[in-house]
Amino acid sequence: MKGDIVIIGGGITGIALAHELARRGEDVVVLEKRFIGSGSTFRCGTGIRQQFNDEANVQVMKRSVELWKKYSEEYGFPFKQTGYLFLLYSEEEINQFKENISIQNRFGVPTRLITPEEAKEIVPLLDVSEVMAASWNPTDGKADPFHATTAFALHAQEMGAKIYEYTEVKDIIIEKGEIKGVKTNKGIIKTGIVINATNAWAKLINAMAKVPIRIPIEPYKHQAIITQPIKKNTINPMVISFRYKDSYLTQTDHGGIIGGVGYEVGPTYDLSPSYTFLREVTAYLSKIVPAIRELLILRTWAGYYAKTPDSNPAIGRINEIDEYYIAAGFSGHGFMMAPAVAEMLSDLITKGKTSLPIEWYDPYRFERGELRQKALQMG
């Protein structure tokens, strides 16, 4: 077996990247130790937002939403622009969001500050008694992560990408600083280019490649809850409340209310849902939407946030190993970024440069002690 480019990891990032490279005519192979979309993508909370607090992330997400729109229409998977609504409870929060909004507006993201009454018009079940304002961008949205990944995979394969499931990478073969191949549980694949798109497992792959720089990505357990399905379009946007422990909630296509809070455990690879989370998530979500109190909880589950110290991913080329790239450490917002990350990294691999601000995600920044402003993280 051989492939010019081998992507390790068949989650949304690896698959979207394979799709983009295949579209450009590259010979690409994806290696996934379970099935495509089986890791954090499988457990992810659906949200896609452009409301970040720095120029790079706003630009990248602006592009990502364009791509979400394009591909969801072309491939027929659901992506709905139902908006993101950040509830604000103090002057301090409002001022901070005014700054964020001005950055977003500068790059063409049409976020605006709205009144509690307007917020209630968007989600009539909201309790806005303590809300002072809200940050609202109607072009943010949500998509089903598993369906999206499946759709990208199908089209990547149609364009020639090879996706090997249940194929686990055991080692990376490097001779004199050059990649020669990847060793898997099913044999060796010859290649000259490897991309580490394993997010929560990124450090394991980096260790196989003997990456000489420190790229701190650690798996943290984050959890989510789903309620019984209720009538459609009850809660359309993603509703966020930093006041109530970074909670988020929205309604899935199927009708259930899905949500989480910023209750983090780790670093750990354990994924068992906890009782503490159940108590916290029910308390906070029902403060935002009191009607949730009367709904039945069907299930809770957990997934990884692959976290870096500044909550921004590491995306780029590792110069000491020819040619090794990384796109990992998405810190809870990797699903939404995937289409733009795929474009950015494909540009870098095929053209050596990109118009998107990839340097913000420079894998060397940790080594250099140049942490970025912390990216807005939910849940």
């Binding site: 209720i230 849902p273 009782y275 009607a291 109190r293 909880i297 069907l298």
Partner: protein
């Protein structure tokens, strides 16, 4: 007497309730769906996709009670003047009253036993002399499936109700019984196991040094067209309406499934006319079952269908608590060590381990009780129970074939949440055999029962379509809460 009453009820408890505006006779303390059944009303709620549903097989039962939507009909007891209306699954109560009055209660015990069936009772009796016990039972009474039977059971000298009464009357002060209480799961807190439970929206945190899962078995769901239509009874529900409430499932019923003998003596005892139909294809009717059609095209005019098949261990509490499964005797059972543990500190007893007579489950309850006593340094003789228990080999369930031919698969419900057999079959036919993916693509096992009644059939379908051995199919594990609980029960402050 109401049309389906098996005997005269206590006239002093007579009340009037209103269903869809119509006045009906009911009796104080009666369960809502039973009161409606006695009056000949089977269709109580409507699924998201508009399918009519009753109370006596899988799927939830949301109803409007006195104007409040999304009330669980199965847990509602009738009261004089109560007004009940049908609703669709998606309807919910938009305005809620916030009642912050109930705080969390805590209870510290040596052993938490989940499940008040005969195994749980056996374990309690063994433990109570030296250790404190919390016995948690979802139903409003103890004795599990055995208490729903009217005939004497092997190994016991009296009829089931008397046996249960006699055994539970021996409970001493070390035993705290929680009836009508659901356990949300077992959480390992290091020093102890936390078993949060909810009783009427009251959250109670039970802290225990050891846990016994005496969580029992569930009825196998048979796959035929309209198998969740109002008037189809799961066997445990049929036994309950007959023996607990004195109401017949219908005037004339059909018994389907591979174990008709589990219900026919009860029907004979109550003079309920029945016919055994081994090969059901479809049930039909306007608002309830009116006829059953078999695979040979024979039509039977009946007003209820009782599914009397095999039982399967409920694997959800096992996997949530961290247990592994194996395929044995035709179904999935927990992997146990030599002391009936799925892991340190968590024991399993009763039909959760395999289907066997009630007496064997009782012995197994005593057995794990004895193991725990010994762990705590008390004298106990598990070997005696172990030896007796070995006389009972669990009952094997023969592998069933799903008859795809000639069946309209869209009408066959594999899961209570509008997941039909066609939807699942289409995915499997595309070559997807991992139940995790099947689950995600079809919503199988993602609804109210968490796969309790549909995962087995999902595995069976994959096995049948692909030839993969049932033993090699990986079942998704259950996540908390083990049973549906209202957000408000957990959302309260300290």
């Amino acid at each position: 007497m109401r049309p389906l009453d098996l005997y005269e009820k206590d006239a002093s408890k007579k009340v009037t309730i209103y269903f869809e505006g119509k006045a009906l006779e009911a009796y104080e303390g009666e369960k809502l769906p039973v009161a409606l059944l006695a009056n000949g009303i089977y269709w109580i709620t409507t699924s998201l996709q508009g399918r009519k549903r009753g109370a006596f097989t899988f799927g939830p039962l949301p109803v409007i009670v006195n104007g409040v939507k999304n009330i669980n009909g199965r847990k509602t007891l009738v009261k004089d003047g109560m007004r009940i209306e049908r609703q669709n699954y998606g309807e919910f109560q938009e305005t809620v009253e916030i009642d912050e009055s109930k705080g969390v209660l805590r209870e510290v015990v040596d052993v938490a036993i989940i499940g008040g069936g005969i195994a749980g009772i056996g374990a309690t009796l063994e433990l109570q002399e030296y250790l404190t016990v919390a016995l948690i039972e979802e139903r409003g009474w103890l004795g599990g499936l055995m208490s729903l039977k009217s005939t004497q059971q092997e190994g016991f000298e009296e009829e089931p109700k008397k046996v249960i009464k006699e055994l539970t009357s021996q409970f001493n002060d070390n035993v705290n019984v929680f009836k009508g209480t659901i356990a949300l799961g077992v959480f390992d807190e290091g020093e102890y196991f936390l078993v949060p439970v909810v009783k009427k929206d009251q959250l109670i945190e039970i802290m225990a040094k050891r846990v016994v899962l005496a969580t029992g078995a569930v009825e196998n769901i048979l796959l035929f067209e309209n198998n969740e239509f109002p008037g189809v009874f799961r066997l445990d529900f049929a036994l309950e309406v007959i023996n607990k409430w004195g109401v017949a499932p219908g005037k004339r019923v059909a018994v389907v499934g591979r174990k008709p003998e589990r219900i026919t003596p009860e029907l004979e005892k109550c003079n309920i006319e029945y016919i055994v139909v081994p090969n059901p294809k479809r049930v039909e009717g306007e608002e309830k079952v009116e006829r059953l059609i078999d695979t040979n095209g024979n039509v039977y005019e009946v007003d209820a269908v009782i599914v009397s098949d095999y039982r399967l261990p409920d694997i959800n509490p096992i996997t949530q608590a961290g247990g592994k499964l194996k395929f044995k005797w035709g179904y999935y059972v927990p992997v146990l060590d030599e002391q009936n543990r799925i892991r340190d500190g968590i024991y399993v007893a009763g039909s959760a381990n395999g289907i066997k007579p009630h007496y064997a489950n009782y012995l197994e309850g005593k057995l794990v009780g004895a193991y725990i006593l010994r762990e705590f340094g008390y004298e106990a003789t598990p070997a005696v129970y172990r030896e007796k228990l070995e006389e009972y080999e669990p009952e094997p369930m023969p592998m069933q074939r799903i008859e795809f031919k000639d069946m309209n698969l869209e009408d066959v419900q594999i899961c209570g949440c509008d997941v039909n057999l066609k939807k699942v079959d289409d995915v499997v036919k595309k070559g997807i055999t991992d139940l995790q993916i099947v689950k995600r693509l079809t919503h199988l096992a993602m609804g109210f029962c968490q796969g309790r009644f549909c995962l087995f059939n999902g595995a069976l379908l994959v096995s049948q379509r692909t030839g993969i051995d049932m033993a090699k199919i990986d079942l998704p594990v259950a996540r908390p809460p083990l049973k549906n609980v209202r957000v408000k029960a957990l959302a309260k402050g300290e």
